[in-house]
């Protein structure tokens, strides 16, 4: 297998799906000739023409709204919102229009819309360019929220998202764009809604997303030297949530740590921990631990002190194991 960067795996997925299906088009700010702020769409306008790779004004509501209307007519828009923080500018289109259009209209429409957007810190991009807001959108019925952590996953899941007949918020991580990983040459798809065991283990379950998958892997490797075997589950998809994968692992390990980069308070860790507490509290040997960012905006500096890291995951695991 060849090594591909996370960002290029995205470009490859877009290219393959555009070549495969004429109804797929790309729309967003700077996505055409400039090739996107992070170069995800580099070369695609040259290859597929300006009709299918559309540069827009800085008008997030118009971008998402246009995608919705086009999808009602069977097109498959892939819209780029430059930073996840900017979804706040088009929340009505995301929440009241896109997420509800199928249910509210009694199932008359399919909404095959993909909204790609990068989340996360690590680039010193400051309070308005670094947030992880996935929990907000997971809380809105009607949106699928996908959050891949590796080049392999991002490609297979983006292709599935484009083929999905429902709105998918595809949350990339800008700190991972440069990450290299193995990606097969041929075509493959990964199912939305299926978590992946990134490392099997028997002592404690760590459920992680996006960048925290890598931090958790590092934590697991460190702890392995002490003889502790961490089972690392990468959720990959926030909604629909793969509850079975979490439950199955917790049944085995009886200890659960949840790690996400988003603010810990009211995050998806809270939801997962509530689900486990509701459905299998008897299986637990220790309190559920959450790792997440502190309850403050993402600072320009000291960003490193803000971002949850491998040591935080180790500390949480140890707390769970020492209980």
């Amino acid at each position: 297998m060849k090594e591909v960067r996370y960002i290029r795996a995205i470009t490859d997925a877009l290219r393959e799906e555009m070549a495969r299906d004429e109804s797929v088009f790309i729309i967003g700010e700077d996505v055409g000739q400039p090739g996107g702020s992070f170069s995800a769409t580099r070369g695609l306008q040259e290859e597929f023409g300006p009709k299918r790779v559309k540069d827009t004004p800085i008008s997030e509501s118009a971008i998402v709204g246009l995608a919705i209307g086009a999808a009602t007519q069977g097109l498959r828009p892939v819209a780029e919102i430059m930073f996840m923080d900017f979804l706040t500018v088009c929340m009505d289109q995301m929440v009241n229009q896109l997420a509800k259009a199928r249910y509210m209209f009694g199932g008359q429409y399919k909404l095959p819309v993909v909204i790609r957007t990068p989340c996360g810190g690590g680039l010193h991009a400051g309070p308005q360019h670094s947030q992880c807001l996935e929990a907000w959108f997971a809380h809105v019925p009607g949106l699928k929220v996908v959050m891949p952590a590796t080049p392999y996953d991002v490609k297979g899941l983006l292709k599935s998202a484009i083929r999905d007949d429902n709105p998918v918020l595809f949350v990339e991580n800008k700190a991972l764009y440069g990450l290299k990983g193995e990606v097969p040459e041929g075509e493959y798809l990964l199912p939305i809604g299926q978590a992946d065991i990134k490392r099997p283990g028997r002592d404690v379950t760590v459920v992680a997303t996006s960048r925290m998958v890598h931090q958790s892997l590092e934590a697991a490797q460190t702890l392995a030297k002490e003889g502790l075997e961490v089972e690392l589950i990468d959720l990959r998809t926030i909604t629909p949530l793969d509850k079975e994968a979490i439950f199955k692992s917790v049944e085995k390990t009886a200890r659960l740590v949840i790690a996400h980069e988003a603010v810990k308070a009211f995050g998806i860790g809270a939801e997962i921990s509530a689900l486990v507490a509701e459905e299998m509290i008897d299986c637990l040997d220790a309190p559920i631990m959450r790792v997440g960012a502190p309850y403050v905006p993402v600072p320009f500096n000291p960003e490193a002190l803000y971002l949850p890291n491998a040591q935080d995951v180790i500390n949480a695991i140890k707390k769970a194991l020492e209980y």
Binding site: S61, A62, A70, Q73, F105
Partner: protein, 317 residues
């Protein structure tokens, strides 16, 4: 214009009026859940505009959108069933008055959010361009929506991309409880078109033939691929923002005076003068409308209230 077409337009205006009068009564009796927004006094706008549309064209309509959907040709029985929240409604009762969509007639979706439907209407227009067909989109909204950011984003993009769309501002001069002079410095909202590089026209929205004439130009321009138009139709809202609104914010004299602009009476008198219509024919039309509405209401009342089985359906395809 053909006589039949004039009568058809007259009948549609009257049907919208009579239906909404009945809805007000039924709402007051507690038979309709939620809240409804009637467009009585504004009937010339949707009827004039939709009279030049094809069945396969699209409209995006508003929370005050009964007239717009009916003029586009939706089935009255299923329309009323939706307002009643019943399973035979277009949206299985999940939409109600404010969010009705009817895919088969190109009613993309009414919108409960002021200005919320404007960006969405870009998408159906874009789909026509993308596929190379000549279906056009009419996006209806009120004067209040022109102060939303979505209006400005959408007009800019539509002009830039030459989208086949007509932005129809049904200006009833009230943004909910706020009169136009309190929400904008402008008198004619159509001048906003110039800022985006598209033609803007203001017409008497209580004159159905003037609306139709202006709509015809805008629609034909869009269909020929010449781009969007902002069409402002100035009309009058006879009732409150919502059914049951006591309108304490409004001068009682103004509430009385707006009735002098009655678009149906105006058109009826014209048709009398043109000898296209006679009082006897009006009676027949009234009779026919009444029986159609009676039938639709009976259909709606008989249609089941949605049960638990459909509650969780249709979140995802």
């Amino acid at each position: 214009m053909k006589k039949d077409e004039l009568i058809r337009m007259y009948s549609m205006m009257l049907k919208i009026r009579r239906l909404e009068e009945r809805l007000l009564e039924l709402f007051a009796q507690g038979k309709i859940p939620g809240f409804i927004h009637v467009s009585i006094g504004q009937e010339a706008v949707p009827v004039g505009v939709c009279s030049v549309l094809r069945q396969d064209d699209y409209i995006s309509n508003t929370h005050r959108g009964h007239g717009q959907a009916l003029a586009k040709g939706v089935d009255l029985r299923r329309f009323v069933a939706e307002i009643y929240g019943r399973v035979d409604g277009f949206c299985k009762g999940k939409a109600g008055s404010m969010h009705i969509a009817c895919k088969e007639m190109g009613v993309i979706g009414s919108n409960g959010v002021v200005g919320g439907g404007i960006p969405v209407s870009l998408g159906t227009a874009f789909a026509s361009t993308y596929r190379g067909n000549d279906r056009i989109t009419v996006c209806f909204f009120g004067d209040g929506a022109t102060n939303e950011g979505t209006f400005h984003e959408s007009l800019n993009l539509a002009a830039l991309w030459n989208l086949p769309i007509v932005f129809c501002c049904e200006n009833n001069q009230w943004a909910e409880f706020t009169p136009q002079k309190v929400h904008t410095k402008l008198e004619n909202l159509s001048i906003r078109a110039e800022a985006y590089g598209m033609p803007g026209v203001t017409v008497d929205g209580d004159d159905v033939l003037k609306v139709r004439e202006a709509a015809e130009k805008a629609v034909s321009r869009a269909r020929k691929g010449e781009g969007p138009t902002l069409l402002e139709c100035k009309t009058h809202r006879w009732f409150g923002h919502f059914a049951g609104d006591a309108q304490k914010y409004r001068d009682p004299r103004e509430i009385e005076e707006v009735r002098n602009f009655d678009p149906i009476l105006k058109f009826q008198n014209l048709l009398f003068e043109m000898k296209v219509l006679k009082p006897e024919r009006v009676k027949e039309i009234e009779c026919q409308i009444k029986s159609e509405i009676d039938e639709a209401l009976a259909f709606a009342e008989k249609s089941p209230v949605p049960g638990r089985e459909g509650l969780l359906e249709d979140v995802f395809a």
